[in-house]
Amino acid sequence: MAEARVKTKGGFPVERIGSHEWRIRVGAVPGMRVPGVVFATEELLEKAIEDRAVEQVANVATLPGIVRASYAMPDIHWGYGFPIGGVAATDIEAGGVISPGGVGFDISCGVRLLRSDLDWERDVKPRMGELVETLGRHVPRGTGRGGRIKLRGAEMDQVLREGVRFALARGLGTEEDAEHCEDHGVLDWARPEYVSDRARERAADQLGSLGAGNHFLEVQVVEEVLDPEAARVLGLHVGQVCVMLHSGSRGLGHQVCTDHLKDVDATSRRLGIEVPDRQLACVPVEDPVAQRYLGAMAAAANFARANRHVLAHTVREAFGMVFGGGKPLSMPLVYDVAHNLAKIEEYEVDGRVRKLCVHRKGATRAFGPGHPELPGRYRGVGQPVLIPGSMGSASYVLVGTEEAREKSFFSTCHGAGRAMSRTKAKKVMSGHELVRQLRAEGIAVAVSQPKLLAEEAPYAYKDVSLVVKACEGAGLSRTVARLRPVGVVKG
């Protein structure tokens, strides 16, 4: 084991307490109520220290009612308020708070994986150009772009209340899609009445749209299976073509956060809650202001699930145009899970089962085997966790572990984690050069804003393989399969 202590830029030490675990002691930042714990290898920790992410872990530890520790996953990087990769749970009965910044503006942003019966070499490789071109033509994407469904009248309320059920009732998708989605595709405690007219307006034409930024659709091939039994249960095998979708709640979620953060900030000040970064503004979960936010957040989460569900249907149609004689291809949903959300979950803390508000900001819920909320098919292996790599690099499918219940409130990483600012990334290479490079590597690309592509270049991110390995080393999740991209569709 190398250095046992590493100093952050903030001047406080981070101590090694396990092979993949580091601690920030209470007191490193004034007001810390619990320690900070970063799950990482030394190499990944060094990267996190290069920006302000580790200080942010300590800041989160000041939240009222926080229990055990302020956690950071191995893909931790600098966020706004919370670090990206941050997990914090607060004890509701003990005045524990909810902080909208611990969920973020893209409420319930998440990942969905579809599997197919198509073989890469035999079926898809010869028609890859046609496939990506068809996907590019049919999948709505780009900043502010309209989606597949324009919501009229009461339909928005229905989406906000029903999540994927709204789309199922209109003949899009299958019952299995709902079963294999986190919370069966709907949070039944959503309160659409707390979603403003402005939020509704921003998203009225966005259902079924990918968006821009780091959101994407990738055609991927299962390159390696690392856990054959879990892969069999998840329906994955080497050479199989899959589609990974990364998107969120679009303008609706952004506006819900903006609206409610303003109320939470004002209330937090009125209540005299002091936090080291204003973006950590928070109120006790039982306060009416918090309840309104949670209801609106759940409604935005329902929108996000419905959005990815409708996108998936469009993908099946596009595949059907190329491989199914025009009929949507049956591409079963492996799983759909968010990485920006707060949930009310129960855990034993200090010998007593408590109701906690678990914030996961750039972290994925990862229930271990046997968890009652998992679909029957997956209960034996644990919850599937979908980890997109940076564009052009591998992605991973993981499963949750029982060990993570104690270690991280059943949480693991959410991606590679950024390592370079957008400005720097664009200086390394232009978007057009990157497109050429990806194509030279055999990856078909459909991109509507090529200039921006370099912001999301693989070199702007950490090595996702190291992140996933660190999660496994820390006991947060197990690696099931590695997928490599063969086609990228972006806004």
Binding site: G144, H254, D265, A266, T423
Partner: protein
């Protein structure tokens, strides 16, 4: 719009952040700072047009709990107006920034159809992270980070 801030380049700079993007705006008055911050946001969005007097005027009025929050609310309002109109920003003028008790800002945006499809960074919202509005020699300086 005699005092419309339109000179190029306006006094703002884009700040680096690992995942997101920051903005520092300066001005002789708070009004100029707010106007320049609006132009800086439009620059990040790829929705800034220089040297045009055409376009329609959009009135923006916002009130907040304090001056810093007022800047965030103002920028979120600018973001919303540009997005809903799918428009570019040719200029911004702030008639009044009321600090102290019940802070408020009244301003006007000069917006027009974008000459070409914007190729800027998608901004979700202005945040309170490291937010500041403070006096400095010769005027004021504001710092704000956006979630992108």
């Amino acid at each position: 719009m005699a005092s419309m801030v339109r000179s190029a380049p306006p006094p703002f700079e884009v700040l680096e952040h690992t995942a997101d993007v920051g903005l520092r705006a300066r001005g002789r008055t708070l009004g100029e700072v707010f106007a320049n911050a609006a132009l800086g946001l439009a620059e990040i969005l790829g929705r800034r047009v220089e040297g045009s007097a055409d376009g329609s005027r959009v009135a923006v009025r916002v009130s907040s709990t304090d001056l810093e929050a007022l800047l965030v609310d103002w920028l979120n309002e600018v973001l919303f107006e540009l997005e809903r109109r799918e428009a570019c920003l040719a200029g911004a003028r702030v008639r009044e920034v009321r600090a102290g008790e019940a802070p408020a800002v009244e301003g006007e945006l000069l917006v027009l159809e974008c000459p070409e499809a914007p190729e800027g960074t998608e901004v979700k919202a202005a945040t309170y992270h490291q937010l500041s509005v403070r006096a400095e020699e010769g005027g004021y300086r504001a710092t704000v980070y956006f979630d992108v």
